[in-house]
Symmetry: C2
Subunit: 267 residues, 2 copies
């Protein structure tokens, strides 16, 4: 089993991802797709007169400020537009795909943060209307049931809080929790960068291999969302996944290339 | 098994539907919910500068003109916002709900219309970019698999065309096809009217009982979307469902009241 996280950043070609996924699936390899939708959410938010707002925690992690209205927009894009686009595309390619969000059947569950401390300039603020949280539990029984029945799963945030609310849980870390729960051989994280770069502006500085016990040392090169990908990689490896590949989702055969070792391989 | 179609018209109180559904489920009665999202789709379309357009076929049926962009909006609202709202609400009430669209696992399948003939004034026009179709097949195996595992299903259009495209398939007739495939005892169709009225402007003219073989005679009272509900009712009864109730979805206990016989009972 391979878990493929498809990022939602600008430049990811979902049609290429789907046709490559179909090719890989037809070799008999089992895949689960987990996807994001960040860029499309930004676009829809802006069109609806609710420009996206990103906040930075005191530990330096950036995340989307997700109030009730943003949660609706987020859910429409992730669980509606993108999830069903991928499912229909795969169905069209002869793959019996089935899409679920993290709230369906309590697929991805975890605590909603009671408040979020953010840093703005030199001030610390507390947000209490932010629907974000962390994925702690994966409904592995549901996943195994559907895989055994022949379905290819396409999964997406939002996750479900323990109180039964939809929450914006990070997709990279959700995919990592999933890969760990399933004891997947590999987790492939596709985004709109070639992998972990020493210099974020220079693709030729790609770091091709990172031994697991040196993640912390390499983390100093991570900017923005790459920090969460490394955190996800560490969590997946800690949970029993053999290998994580952070690779470019903008190529024609992004999954195949990642499986061939292109990108940053963490082992 | 009872199939409950929850209309997407203005005035339907989804919170009341969910809490009533939870109460009914806790008595041991099995329910499947199929929902619409018409009003919310109109609102989002208008906000996005793409006002909804309804077209009338030569047989007098009105339907949403669903070009590619409208299909995206439709999918975001139906499979994203409303489906996940209902699922989260039920989860919050202790029901292990799971939402699927008709494209997931080929749940609702049928032919996309190659073109749609519409009447505008005294002119007949042909639309070729309309993603609409009819539900002919229901993946009963998938439904039974998930019900047997303890999940309460929340289903929604779009459906999947035989060519693997998402299509706007009518929700009432989809629910009827589902009820027939499952040999459900009853199909409850909730909308924002009390049932079939002799005079659409006067709720006191409710027709409380319609024998199955007199549907055609009563169909003359049906206006707008009520025509599709009667068509759905006829299809469900023809497929082996014992009773169809067309009832008001705007009350506090809409499912319970319909099961008690409030509304138009077709048998």
């Amino acid at each position: 089993m391979i878990v493929v996280k498809v990022g939602g950043g600008e430049g990811i070609d979902l049609d290429a991802v789907c046709s490559d996924a179909a090719d890989v699936l037809k070799t008999g390899q089992k895949l689960i797709i987990v996807h994001g939708g960040s860029h499309e959410t930004n676009l829809l938010s802006a069109r609806l007169g609710k420009p996206p707002r990103f906040v930075r925690s005191s530990s330096g992690m950036e995340s989307r400020y997700t109030d009730r209205e943003t949660l609706d927009i987020f859910t429409m894009v992730y669980a509606g537009k993108i999830n069903k686009y991928i499912v229909a595309r795969l169905q069209c390619l002869g793959i019996n795909a089935l899409g679920l969000s993290g709230i369906d059947g309590g697929l991805f569950k975890g605590p909603r943060k009671p408040f979020v401390k953010i840093v703005e300039g030199d001030k610390v603020k507390v947000l209490r209307d932010d629907f974000t949280g962390r994925v702690e539990q994966v409904n592995v029984g549901l996943i195994r049931l559907l895989i055994a029945a022949g379905y290819t799963l396409v999964l997406t945030p939002p996750a479900l809080s323990y109180e039964g609310e939809a929450i914006n849980g990070d997709g990279d870390r959700g995919a990592a929790a999933l890969a760990a729960s399933l004891k997947a051989e590999r987790l492939v994280i596709l985004s709109n960068v070639p992998g972990l770069l020493k210099d974020v502006h220079d693709a030729s500085t790609l770091i091709s291999h990172v031994p697991r016990d040196e993640i912390d040392r390499y983390a100093e090169y991570a900017q923005g969302r790459m920090k969460k990908k490394l955190l996800g990689a560490r969590e997946a490896l800690g949970g029993g996944v053999s290998q994580v590949v952070i690779a470019d989702g903008r190529t024609l055969r992004p999954i195949s290339q990642a499986l061939e070792g292109k990108g940053t391989v963490i082992y």
